[in-house]
Symmetry: C2
């Protein structure tokens, strides 16, 4: 055995850059993998319905309890416990759409959510940011802007995310600053935190002003997305309930994501964690559909597990992989889009980070995830947004995006004549078939090297992470701000200035 | 959105090590993914048959041409070209078994090849070896022994491979030394290079002596495996032909692997590279079945692509991933086991190595590979066997092995009562359900850290690769040589000593 490459060189031709336009609208061509039988999926679903009927969940917002009570739920105001019967849940979930469009400021960047469509999003939520030049530090507004620009200029990322928490901005002004930056630095779909009613209303207004649309147009289609984490186990807190209600009322997109960490906030058995996840997702979706039947929701799933030694959360685990594939089955059982994520436990941009992120991505690909959150830049179990990890993840995402493309098999692709033309033991470097296609035949990496050992050593024997610094710097240098009509920009600026002058939003 | 882990600690309990006995016999529970329709698979297959009929291939060994001529092939002795008609190929391939056992010296380590079984193998073939203590250097016999020991003690690796070429051993003695080391340091199935008739016969004899079996027992079942790379395009050289003939005649396992690098030794279009791969595999399999109908073979597939800029081979590419999944379809179309590989282009144990290896492994998992070669230690496009990469890859392989295990869903697993027992917003750390299961609930990593940032920084802020050095050192320290009966050992020693005294084998 050798399996040993024969290393040859061709003259480097002037190359046309390969189009990656197909990365902006991704579809997963593979049939979804399954870890459960159809009977098991139905059994788990029925068990979740029973759990909501018998044990229920705690709902901290009076308005949410009142809305659910009106819909037929059994509410105990003393304990704030809400029990939902299976008829109510089943009818409510049935009104949620299987697919919908999320409209962007630039229509070319609108994305379809559901079916075989795949929406890929950068990391969301970390308090820290890191890069190899400046190290790990608390996130700032400048860092948020950096990630917004990078998301804008990256074809395989389909919206801006709350990539890092800008801790230098007062909480009362943070939503305004973040919304303003996201809308002006990017023309991809808008993200808004659900941190209370006034905050959400500000976000919706900023979106309308930036897009130059009136309220009716805004309400008619999804323009903004948010992510709702339940307080597992079995609790919906006040901002979450408000977010679900306000996004549903406005017909905007809620990703309902129980963060069911097996062994901590969820049972130590994977089936138990999935049962809790499913019950919580059903309850949150039910609230949204009670508020507005047909409101766009995504079945979110973030079941992973703790480390057996320390109790610390772990990501990129086999348990998380199986839970993800199972979650896809549960979402399809409900006829809803499914959100998963690519994540890792590693504290640094090393091989562990690559393997773990790719293991989670494998589960997303195999299971057919419709929304992949945290897919670029997630590090340190989600506590840090890393710029080098962002570049490395984007490289991986482009590989996955290329794997989604078909293998053409026309006569020219099969190249039988070309095969006959090359002598046995010869090579195809100089054939007409090769020369016609060579420049655009293959995916070309950005930060993964294909230098041989000698070239690579001469170039400093760098790791991929070390090379990634120059890449995000280049991406920032060559970033171009997308245009916004002057009147929209003026209206947005005026609104933000006014709300800042008013002191922004009381932190809630 | 936060998706933010709540970090808690549990008392570290005395933990029972988690059994990984199921890693020694792996089955892939997922339905195979497809990149081609059934019609496309049949079309490509027919095109390959036409290619063998019309263009044929060059066969450098007169005996191979003679055997194929007797079976009905059209042979031109002047050009050494052999054309195979579709009837001959179809009838020959039909005699190859769909599944078979590869018998190990220790019956517990025998492996099934085919169906949903997955045999995982370490890297094979590199001339160089590398570790972070000693750097990159030409491989030696000591390095070969190191990898044989590591393969023996690693549950998710199922046989010894030619992990590194021992360049300090004279070529005439190399086969004897390598066979002796593999058989005495491991009781997993034996690998033998196919480097000429005398070499192969020595290997078979060493196997018989080590196992204490007579020739009839040896011939009755597969005990030894080899890998045959065709000289793409369309050529079988002398040692390859001899290997195919001798392994087939002895009923031993040939993995037939065209190394069809798209854009170099194969057409630049992926369909064309797959067409060439398929034609060459069919020809090699036909030769084996002409020699002995029913001889065990594996449909090998190593279609990757060159780099567009340099013409250098690239691994872990999206093209290789799609080609792998397609190859699984082609192998199943023939009713044969399929060999693929996990590979990377990276020169170092970095994130690129992790992502690329995992992308290839994803294709193996999705496509349902029966044999995954190069799965531990492959670096630098296969030119280096890295000890740290070996450790990192084994970590990944164990994650994949755990993903193959079912998610139990009995009443206890669903834990509905436990969910009802924990207060909303509470946690499951102290429940009876958790305490009963916690110690063995989850996969536990070896080299991937789950320390938080502070602990990890205090511990030296190491990368996974840096931590891997201590792991392979520990694995070597705690390696235990498997027992061999004294009479077998004496017979093997006597044979090797005699053949060495005779000067070994003329290099061919």
């Amino acid at each position: 055995m050798t399996d040993e490459p024969r290393r040859r060189r061709t003259t480097r031709a002037a190359r046309a850059p390969r189009s990656t336009a197909h990365h902006t609208q991704l579809r997963n061509p593979f049939a979804p993998a399954e870890v459960f039988s159809a009977d098991q999926v139905e059994h788990l679903h029925q068990q979740a319905l029973t759990l909501l009927e018998e044990f229920g969940l705690k709902v901290l917002l009076p308005e949410a309890r009142a809305r659910l009570a009106v819909a037929g739920a059994a509410v105990d105001e003393d304990t704030q416990m809400v029990r939902l019967d299976r008829g109510l849940v089943t009818a409510a979930v049935a009104t949620a759409p299987a697919e919908f469009d999320l409209v962007a400021r630039n229509p070319a960047h609108s994305v379809r959510i559901g079916g075989d469509h795949v929406m890929v999003l950068p990391v969301g939520g970390p308090p820290y940011v890191s890069d190899l030049r400046r190290g790990r530090r608390p996130g700032t507004m400048a860092d948020f802007e950096t990630f917004a620009k990078l998301a804008q200029r990256t074809d395989v990322l389909h919206a801006v995310s709350p990539a890092v928490e800008p801790q230098d901005i007062d909480l009362r002004l943070r939503n305004l600053r973040v919304g303003d930056a996201g809308l002006t630095l990017s023309d991809k779909p808008m993200y808004a935190n659900s941190r209370g009613r006034a905050s959400v209303e500000d976000s919706f207004e900023m979106c309308r002003l930036a897009l130059g649309i009136d309220e009716a147009t805004f309400l008619a289609r999804p323009h903004v997305w948010t992510n709702i984490n339940t307080n597992s186990p079995r609790q919906l807190d006040v901002p979450m309930c408000l977010g679900i209600i306000d996004f549903a009322a406005a017909g905007q997109v809620c990703i309902m994501t129980p963060f069911t960490l097996s062994g901590a906030m969820a049972p130590v058995s994977l089936a138990g964690a999935l049962l809790l996840q499913h019950a919580e997702a059903l309850a949150a979706i039910t609230l949204s559909q009670v508020v507005r039947p047909g409101a766009p929701v995504v079945y979110g799933a973030f079941t992973s597990n703790v480390d057996m030694r320390s109790g610390a959360p772990a990501f990129g685990t086999p348990e998380a992989g199986k839970a993800a594939i199972a979650s896809g089955q549960l979402a399809r059982h409900l006829g809803l889009p499914w959100r998963s994520q690519a994540a890792s436990t590693s504290n640094v941009e090393d091989a562990q980070g690559g393997y773990e992120t790719m293991v989670s991505m494998m589960a997303c690909v195999m299971g057919g995830a419709n929304v992949v959150l945290h897919a670029a830049g997630w590090q340190e179990g989600g506590l840090t947004a890393s710029l080098e990890k962002f570049v490395l993840d984007v490289e991986m995402l482009r590989i996955v995006a290329e794997m989604f493309q078909p293998v053409p098999m026309e006569v020219d692709d099969l190249a039988a004549a070309s095969i006959g033309e090359v002598a046995p033991g010869g090579h195809f470097f100089g054939t007409a078939h090769t020369l016609e296609r060579f420049e655009s035949a293959f995916h070309e990496p950005t930060v993964f090297t294909r230098q041989n050992f000698g070239q690579w050593t001469d170039g400093g024997a760098t790791t991929a992470a070390q090379r990634a610094t120059a890449v995000w710097e280049l991406w920032l240098e060559t970033y171009e701000q997308p245009p916004m009509p002057d009147d929209c920009r003026a209206a947005l600026d005026e609104f933000v200035a006014r709300r800042v002058a008013e002191g922004g939003i009381a932190a809630d």
